[in-house]
Structure formats: structure tokens, C-alpha cells
């Protein structure tokens, strides 16, 4: 055995490469069996290895042992230990190959085992976690169920209450109805009684009248020294049909006078209102010279041009004798034109509003492109504007207050103005708020961008490092011996296929790899592995079958095992 040590493993491994692959190709047994073996294998490995070994082979039974091993190995698909040409001669090369093979297998098995253990642990923890989760969710379910029950109960109670209230309401309504009926009946009763009483009273009055008035009461008299003259100095006229007619006439005169006066007042009022309307119209026209054309051109409603024609007529008319004419046509024209102007004004204002909103939305959309400087500039500008507006509002308010202080006659118009100012101010404030929000959004976006940039830089750096290391490795491997280069190649193949996410990890594993893979395990361990090959022979297949994703982790596991 001491002689075996001297043989260098790298040479062995390179030689045994092909046969090993062959065996692995050949042996495609069901994975379940492999798994079992893999799971079982670690137990005897660590324990009484030496004693078992010594018991197996002694001086006497070397031959048997070798033959036994040969048999065993051949059954497992290894090449025979004996040289093919001469019988019963131990082929040291094949033995060593087998041992190496076995060792590799062992190592793989160990790795797999580690892997599986970790997986097991992970699964266990996952399981725990899931169980916890399950318990929690169950609890939640329970609580929510309870809640639902509670809510249902409450709902039921509320419904009950509602029903009761409805009942109460109905009762109250009935009560009200009843009371109203009672009131009505009482009222009728009262009226009836009153009438009866009054009739009696009237009868009594009549009787009293007869008694008192008709018996020529001497006392009822006027005692006057001498009759005085009438206020107007005239004598009282006789009552005739003429006087009656005259009285009627007088009355109607009075009435007519009253109505005339009222008509005059109304005329004055009307004229003033008309003046106001006219003025308003003029102002509107002067306010909207460009807009006036558009509705005409648009002609979405066919009456547009007709109306305007009419309006022009009206304008001509107005110039002549607007105030004298209070007839229907003029009034209609005036109101129509005013209405039209008003509609135009409204449209204009709406359009302006739309423009404003569109500009706003445009600003929102283009926000991604706007640089920060522009943004800040804009904010500053707007702030300044707002400040100005505020100041203006303040001064206006002051002016208004002053005006209010001085005895004013037109309170309502003042109020309206006030209203408009307030409205404007509110709108400005709203705009300001919107603006602030926008600004905040920009800030947030900017931050996220910088973060992403930082991350990218980091990643790039890592990648650069990675590449440098890899290049160095490549270079080194090119210069160094073949076995190393081969290992590195397999490694690089990994890195080529792996996700960018695992780059860092790969990078790390590769950093460690150069000094860990080539280093040959000590002879004792080698022996142990050889001894275990029979148990783990199938595990190579498992390893080959493991997914690409888990490979970095395998490496890690291997490293760990080796450091141990």
C-alpha cells in the first residue's frame, strides 16, 4: 500500500477519465435505489472503518480478497483488477484506476449527501415554516370566521333594529295620521259648534236689537249746540244714482292712479335693466372679438349665422331707438343676442379651461424628460407667480374692505366679486397643490434612478472583477499543467450557462476553486473512499443528473467538506 501512495493522482485521474464516463453511461439504474444508497452511505463511512478494513483483508487471504474485490467491482461495472493477458496477475493500474474512481464516487456521494442533508434541513425548515404558516393561517381563518360570525350577528341585530325602527316609524306615522284626523275632526266639530253658537248669538243680537233700538229710546240722541260746517265748506249732496256713479269713477281713478304709478316704476326699472343688459352685451362683444367668428364658422348648429344676422339687425335697431321700443321683438332680440354672447363667453372660458388642463396633463406626461433644472426653474417661477397672486388678492381684499366700509349701495355685486376672487384663489391653491405633488413625484423618480445607477455600477464592478479573475485564471491554466486546465474548463462552462444572479456566487466559488480542486486529498482519505466505492457506485449518475442551478451550491458544499 505504501507503494500506491507514490503514484500521482493527477495522472491517474486523467487516465481513468474515459472508463469512468463509460460506467456512468452504462449504469442508469432507477434513481430511487440510488437515493437510498446515497442516504444510507454516510453512516458506516465515518465510523469503525479501520477495524472493518483490517478484518477484511489479512496476510493470508490477500488473494481471496483481491478476487472478491475483483468480482465485486466487475459486477459494479469496473474493469477487472487482473490484467487481461495473463491470468491471476494483479493489474496495478486498473486497481488504482478503480480506487480513484471509487474515491471520486465517494466524494461525489459525500457531496450529494451533504446536498441532500442541506436540502433535507431546508425542507425541514421549510416544512416548519409552512406548518407555522399553516397554523397561523388556520388561526387567522378561525379569527376571521369568528369575526364573520360576529359581523353576521351584528348585521342581524342591526336588521332587527332597523325593522324595529321601521315599525316605530310606521307607528309614528300612523299616530301622526291619527292625530291629524283628530285635529281635523276637532276642527270641524269646533267650527260646527261655533256656527251653532254664533247662530244663537245672532238670534240674541237680533232680539236685543229689536228690543233696544225699536222702542224709540229717548236717550239715544245727539245733543249739539249747533251744527258745524263741513270741512270743504260745501253742503252735503243728496244721494242719487249720480253720486254712486261718481263714486265708482273716483274709485277707479284711484286704482288707475296706483297702477299707473306702478307701471311708471316698472318702466324705469325695466329701462335700467335694459341699459345694464346692453352694456353687458357691449362689453362681451368687445371682450370676445376673435371668438365671435369661430362659432359662426363652426356652424355645428345651423342657426348660428341666422342668429348673428338677427343680432346685427338688433344692433342696428338698438342704435336707433332701443329705449323707446319695448316691444316683444326687440326684447327677444336683445335676450337672444345676450344669450348667444353668453354662450360664446362660456365656450371661450371652457376652452381656456381645457387648454389649461391639457397643458397641465402635457406637463405631466412630459415629466420624464424634463430635467431637474428646468423643473426647479419652473417651480420657482410658479412660486413667484403664486406669491404675486396672493399679494394681488390681498390688495384686492383690502380694497374691497375699504369699499365695503364706505357706505355702499350695491351689496350683491360686491358679494359676487368677492365670490369670484375667492374662487380664483381656491383654484390657484389647487393648482399649487397639484404642482407640489408633481414635484414630489419627480423627486421620487430621481431617487430611484440614482439607486438603480448605483446598483448597476456595483454590478458592473463585480462583473469586471469577475472577468479579470477569470482571465487570470484562464491565463494561469493555460500556462500550468493539463489537469488543472480541464477542471477550470468545466468550471467556466458552468459560469457560461449560469444566470447573472449567480454571477457573484460563481465568482466566489471560482476564486476558491483553484487551490481546492487540484489539492489532492491525503492518502488516508483516499483509502477510505476507495473502500466505499461499492456502496456509492450509482451516485455518480445522481450527480450528473442534478440540475444546473444547484451546481454552485454543490461546489460550496464540497468546499465545506474539504475544509472540514
Amino acid at each position: 500500500m505504501g507503494d500506491w501512495k507514490t503514484i500521482t493522482v493527477p495522472a491517474l485521474s486523467s487516465a481513468s477519465k474515459i472508463p469512468y464516463q463509460n460506467t456512468s453511461e452504462k449504469k442508469m439504474s432507477p434513481s430511487s435505489l440510488n437515493m437510498q444508497q446515497v442516504l444510507r452511505s454516510p453512516l458506516p463511512l465515518s465510523k469503525s472503518m479501520h477495524s472493518f478494513f483490517s478484518a477484511f483483508c489479512t496476510e493470508e487471504n490477500v488473494e481471496q480478497s483481491i478476487s472478491y474485490l475483483n468480482r465485486e467491482l466487475t459486477t459494479l461495472g469496473f474493469p477487472s483488477l487482473y490484467s487481461e493477458c495473463k491470468d491471476k496477475e494483479l493489474n496495478v493500474v486498473s486497481v488504482l484506476n478503480c480506487m480513484n474512481e471509487l474515491l471520486v464516487l465517494q466524494r461525489k456521494n459525500l457531496r450529494a449527501q451533504e446536498e441532500v442533508e442541506i436540502q433535507h434541513l431546508k425542507l425541514g425548515s421549510d416544512m416548519d415554516h409552512l406548518q407555522n404558516c399553516y397554523a397561523k393561517v388556520k388561526e387567522q381563518l378561525e379569527t376571521s370566521r369568528r369575526e364573520i360570525v360576529g359581523l353576521q350577528e351584528r348585521d342581524r341585530q342591526q336588521q332587527c333594529k332597523n325593522r324595529n325602527l321601521h315599525q316605530l316609524l310606521k307607528n309614528e306615522k300612523d299616530e301622526v295620521q291619527k292625530l291629524q284626523n283628530i285635529i281635523a275632526s276637532r276642527a270641524t266639530q269646533y267650527n260646527h259648534d261655533m256656527k251653532r253658537k254664533e247662530r244663537e248669538y245672532n238670534k240674541l243680537k237680533e232680539r236685543l236689537h229689536q228690543l233696544v233700538m225699536n222702542k224709540k229710546d229717548k236717550k239715544i240722541a245727539m245733543d249739539v249746540l249747533n251744527y258745524v260746517g263741513r270741512v270743504d265748506g260745501k253742503r252735503g249732496a243728496w244721494r242719487t244714482g249720480k253720486t254712486e256713479a261718481r263714486n265708482e269713477e273716483e274709485m277707479y281713478k284711484v286704482l288707475l292712479g296706483g297702477y299707473e304709478q306702478r307701471q311708471k316704476q316698472l318702466l324705469v326699472e325695466n329701462a335700467e335693466l335694459k341699459k345694464v343688459l346692453q352694456q353687458m352685451k357691449k362689453e362681451m362683444i368687445s371682450l370676445l372679438p376673435p371668438q365671435k367668428q369661430k362659432p359662426k364658422e363652426r356652424a355645428e348648429d345651423g342657426i348660428g349665422p341666422v342668429l348673428s344676422d338677427m343680432e346685427e339687425d338688433a344692433v342696428e335697431l338698438n342704435k336707433e331707438n332701443m329705449w323707446e321700443l319695448s316691444c316683444e321683438t326687440v326684447r327677444e332680440q336683445l335676450t337672444n343676442s345676450i344669450r348667444k354672447q353668453w354662450r360664446m363667453l362660456k365656450n371661450h372660458v371652457e376652452k381656456l379651461d381645457n387648454q389649461v388642463s391639457r397643458a397641465h396633463s402635457g406637463a405631466l406626461n412630459g415629466s420624464d424628460v424634463i430635467s431637474r433644472e428646468d423643473h426647479e426653474l419652473e417651480t420657482e417661477k410658479l412660486e413667484l407667480e403664486i406669491q404675486q397672486c396672493k399679494e394681488m388678492i390681498k390688495t384686492q381684499q383690502q380694497l374691497l374692505q375699504q369699499q365695503l366700509m364706505s357706505p355702499c349701495d350695491d351689496d350683491t355685486s360686491m358679494l359676487l366679486q368677492d365670490c369670484y376672487l375667492l374662487e380664483e384663489r381656491e383654484r390657484l391653491q389647487e393648482e399649487w397643490k397639484l404642482f407640489r405633488e408633481q414635484k414630489k413625484n419627480f423627486e421620487r423618480e430621481r431617487r430611484s434612478f440614482t439607486e438603480a445607477a448605483i446598483r448597476l455600477g456595483l454590478e458592473r464592478k463585480a462583473f469586471e472583477e469577475d472577468r479579470g479573475a477569470w482571465l487570470k485564471q484562464q491565463f494561469l491554466s493555460m500556462t500550468s499543467d493539463h489537469k488543472n486546465s480541464e477542471h477550470v474548463k468545466t468550471q467556466s462552462a458552468y459560469s457560461g450557462s449560469s444566470d447573472p444572479d449567480n454571477q457573484l456566487m460563481n465568482f466566489r466559488s471560482r476564486q476558491k476553486k483553484p487551490h481546492c480542486l487540484p489539492s489532492v486529498p491525503p492518502s488516508e482519505e483516499l483509502c477510505q473512499t476507495i473502500q466505499h466505492i461499492p456502496h456509492n457506485s450509482n451516485s455518480s449518475v445522481v450527480l450528473n443528473k442534478t440540475t444546473e442551478d444547484s451546481k454552485p451550491k454543490q461546489w460550496k458544499g464540497l468546499n465545506k467538506a474539504e475544509t472540514e
Partner: protein
Amino acid sequence: MNFSEVFKLSSLLCKFSPDGRYLASCVQYRLIVRDVNNLQILQLYTCLDQIQYIEWSSDSLFILCAMYKRGIVQVWSLEQPDWHCKIDEGSAGLVASCWSPDGRHILNTTEFYLRITVWSLCTKSVSYIKYPKACQHGIAFTKDGRYMALAERRDCKDFISLFVCSDWQLLRHFDTETQDLSGIEWAPNGCVLAVWDTCLEYKILLYSLDGRLLSTYSAYEWSLGIKSVAWSPSSQFLAIGSYDEKVRILNHVTWKKITEFEHPATIANPKIIVYKEMEKSPRVETESLAFPPARAQASALFSTQSKYDISQVPVSLQYIKPVADRANPRIGIGMLAFSPDNCFLATKNDNIPNAIWIWDVQKLKLFVVLEQLYAVQLFQWDPRQPRLAICTGNSKVYLWSPAGCVSVQVPMEGDFQVLSLCWHSSGDSMALLTKDNFCMCYLEREEVK
């Protein structure tokens, strides 16, 4: 502000003549006529019994003195002191007497409202009007004195009769859609007659001079209704005070409600000025407060002064909860009056008896609230300008104008509890009446502005 000396008076009977030259006052059965300027007694008439009512004729030449208990009216002439006239209603009795607008006829209402007798001072003719309605405001004359409206009741139905005052000819006679009419009032322009129903129903009807129904207004049902009614001097507005503590104002074009003035006990609007009368006793205020029975003495010894403070809103006014199960509850708008220039309306809510609300009619808003220490007895507008005189049954008289308000102590010996007041037609002076005294109060013109 100056005050005259105190004169004797009974039954609060003190009246200025319409031309503003004389002042008639009664002491028991004596009628005293004074010159307004120097208060010299011009005439002194002696009646047959204690006088219960006096009234000047429109031309200020005659005064009628009614003695309801004896059913007698005595008329005196200012020009001919020895001229006399006595009207005896005999066994029919007498409950009311008044001049016709021409000052030559006297309308006497007999007991039980059997009839109204129209006595003429010019001729021997006597007219009777049957079936007058027994109500407070049953007779109304137009301001120009041409027409008289009279509420009548026949066969359990209400009627209105319109008479021409010059010859007492019936002009119109129409029935009204009222349950139990309780008052009528002409608009100052004499073209519209407001007729309102009994307090059991909120209903007011407006009739034209020719008897056409112009409009009917009813604010609500099933509750006590109208308590007081007042026309604005321009006839533009009709203010209706009701038991629901609100004043509703109707306009003269559509006769629809323009606005509604509420009279809540708390005033929160900071735009409203609330004047609160504060008592400030010179020295021993606790004692004067501690012995209210000795008020006469106290006021004689150290006359408590009062002034108006502007209260900070919100203000809660002193509120009396009316007894709900009694008839004629002390609730609702019992008094309301427009200022002569139409600009203000003064109202009093009977369950907040210490306060007077003054409304700005142009803005249709509450303008000022005056909170007095005692219940308001009477308020009356200056006939010439927006100035309101108020008395609260104590020895002070209060004046409000848009410029502010003042409380004036009447500088009289003893207790001088002003129960009533009446303005002179010039607005320069007024008579302050107590239970058995009166004095004149002169206002300087400069003070007004």
C-alpha cells in the same frame, strides 16, 4: 335732551293734535289742552264722567272724549270753547268710538257689536251700519280718508264692506274666504286691503279697492298663525309677524314671500351688532340690587344709570318659555313697525320680551339687536327719520338710530315709570307717559346727526 316738568295724567290719555300745535291730556273727567310750545293750558273741558278715550279730529278742531261706561261721547271744539256736543247711545251701550277721516262724523260701536252709528256734526242725519264684526281691527280708513273698510259678520260668514267716507255710500260688499276674520288694514297707498284670519289659521288675503282678490298667502297649517301685520310706508312690503317667532315679508308685485326673519334666542352672526343695556350704579350697586322692593327710594337716592355695551357674539338673549296650555301664549311677533323712510323694520318677539330686533330692509338682513334690562313696553319710530324710541317701564327712555343708541334717565323726582310714549309729528319732541304723570322730552336737532 331736555325735559319738561311733570303733569298729571290718567289712563295714559295724552295725544298731540294732528297739526302738532296742541297737546290734549286727561285727568279723571277733565280734558286739558295745552300749547305744545310752552305747555300753557289753552282750554280745560269738564266731561260728565271719567274719560276713557280721546281722539283728535283730523283738522285738529275737535276732540272727542268717550265714556264707555256711561255710553256717552262728548265732543269739544277748540275754536269755540262754549260749543258742546254730547252723544248718548242710551241702553245700546258703547264699546268704541272714532272720528271719520273728515272730522265731521263720529262712528260709535254699540255694545255686543249690534251696529255702528255714524253721527254727523254737520247735519242731523244718523246712519247705521249693521252686523259689524267684533274684532280688534274691524274698521280701517285709507290714508287719504276717502274710503273705509269694515269687517262684517253675517250668517257665520265674513264680509268686507267698502264705504265712501264722503257720503257713507256702500261702494263694495264682498265675502272673504276666512274662517274668522280678525283684522283688516289698508296699504298706505289705499289700493290694497290686507285681511287676515284668526290666529288659529295662518291666512292673509289681499283685496284690491274694487273688491278683487289679489292674492292669498298661507305659510303653514295646524299651528297658531298671524299675530301682527304691518305695511311698509311705501306699500311695497307687507310684514307679517306670527306665532312661530318669524316675520315674513311679502312683496307688492307678486304678493309672494321675499324673505323670512327668524328671531332665535342666540345670535351668532358676527356682522350683527348687539347692544346690551348694562346697569352701572354709581356707588352701592350691591345694595341697590339687593333690595328691589325699595326701588323707588333707591332711584330717588342714587339714580341707577345704565348704558349700552356692544356684546360680543354669540349672544344668548333672555328667553321666556311660554305656557303652552294657555290661550294667547306669550310667544311670537307681537309688535312690528317700519321706519318712516322704509329702511328699517323693528320687531319684538313676545317670548324674548327684553329684546328688539331691527332689520335692514334694503339688505333684508338683521342689523341690530337691542337687549334691554326690562321687558319692552312700547317702541315707536320717529315720524321724520329712522330713530326708534323705546320704553321699558322704568325711568329711562331709549333711543336708537343707525348711528348708535343711548339710554336717557328721565330726571324726575320719585318713580317715573315710562309705560308709553308718543312722538310729536315734527320728531323734535315726545311725550313720556307713566301711570299718572307725563312729561315732554325735547330732542335737540344737533343730537340727531
